[in-house]
């Protein structure tokens, strides 16, 4: 049972590490599906998703760096 729990949590962890990034990706895919349904040219679907995911990644990394910096500064003060 413990092993099964570990495997299931490992499988979940394969895809979700940072909740915000995972939710952002899902929202981006949903927006693309909606855009295609409402008339986005299929040839623009690729650039749409590529740019969206790239921006999500960069924003997430910068946010993580800022959070770690704030943590470090707090550690230095105390």
């Amino acid at each position: 049972m413990k092993l099964l729990k570990a495997v299931l949590s490992e499988i979940f962890g394969l895809f979700v590490d940072d909740d915000r990034l995972a939710l952002g990706v899902l929202a981006m895919v949903a927006s693309l599906a909606l855009a295609l349904k409402t008339g986005l040219v299929p040839a623009l679907a690729g650039p749409f998703l590529l740019i969206g995911c790239a921006l999500l990644l960069i924003e997430n990394v910068w946010r993580s760096v800022s959070a770690a910096q704030a943590q470090k500064a707090k550690g230095k003060r105390s």
């Binding site: 092993l3 570990a6 495997v7 490992e10 499988i11 394969l14 895809f15 979700v16 590490d17 940072d18 990034l21 995972a22 990706v25 899902l26 895919v29 693309l32 599906a33 295609l36 299929p42 040839a43 623009l44 679907a45 690729g46 998703l49 590529l50 995911c53 790239a54 999500l56 990644l57 960069i58 997430n60 990394v61 910068w62 993580s64 760096v65 800022s66 770690a68 910096q69 470090k72 500064a73």
Partner: protein, 250 residues
């Protein structure tokens, strides 16, 4: 002789690089088990783990053929995006210095100490289960990568064979090196590989998600190359900027 076409190369290389990372991680634990308790518990745990993975593939593999191609592509695409971006994010944060690098020597030492602490009577069992767990947990990732980079084309033009060959080659390489050196493979540039795999899987993810949603790509599979290059350049720029920011606060 392995003869890969340009179309098969991305699936082969993505599966090879990703499997190399996972097999190195599993090998460290199996080696710790064999050093502390001998080869039997390590070999039995490994074998049992491999059998479970084969059963998993044989059970789930044929089900993929029943899924409509667009749903299959969309599901694989989204999962690959989540998986690839997660790896790329972590590799970027490690390169910047925010997260510590993965250290096989430290993991080997920790696992060895943990196994030595275990009571003598049940030690072989515990050691065998540790090897089994390492194989299953890391192996699940390998199975997912092989299936997802290989199955997007559907049954008719499946890339499962080149992807499986990539994973198998990684296993053979790690095992051969491991047996020869008999110590954790600390020299494998794990973060560079994770960076590369994150880039490739993210590119595969964007490609299959768009295909699954009914979008199209000029040049079909060749579109993977500019996708990967874009992710790679962007990630490198992100690391460069991130390092500057991180050093300012150091």
């Amino acid at each position: 002789m392995l003869n890969l076409s340009l179309v098969q190369l991305p699936a082969f290389s993505a599966a090879f690089a990703a499997s190399l990372v996972e097999v190195v991680e599993a090998f460290t634990i199996v080696l710790a088990v064999s050093v502390v308790r001998g080869w039997w518990p390590a070999a039995l745990g490994t074998l049992a783990g491999l059998v479970l993975l084969v059963v998993l593939v044989l059970t789930l593999g044929p089900l993929l053929a029943l899924v409509p191609i667009h749903i299959l592509q969309l599901s694989i695409g989204v999962l690959l995006l989540l998986f690839g971006l997660r790896w790329l994010r972590k590799a970027m944060l490690r390169s910047i210095g925010v997260i510590a690098m993965h250290d096989e020597a430290r993991i080997f030492e920790r696992e060895t100490v943990e196994l030595r602490r275990t009571a003598q009577a049940s030690a072989d069992w515990v050691a065998g289960i540790a090897a089994f767990k390492a194989i299953v947990l890391e192996g699940v990732e390998v199975v997912f990568i092989v299936i997802s980079v290989g199955a997007g084309h559907g049954a008719a033009a499946s890339q499962l064979l080149p992807a499986s060959l990539g994973a198998a080659l990684a296993c053979v390489l790690v095992l051969a090196l491991g047996f020869a050196l008999h110590r954790p493979l600390t020299k494998v540039p794990e973060n560079t590989l994770k960076f590369l795999v994150g880039v490739m899987l993210s590119a595969f993810g964007v490609y299959w998600t768009v295909e699954g949603l009914g979008g199209n790509w000029p040049g079909q599979d060749l579109a993977l190359l500019p996708l990967a290059v874009t992710f790679w350049l962007l990630a490198l720029a992100g690391v460069k900027y991130g390092r500057k920011q991180w050093q300012i606060s150091a």
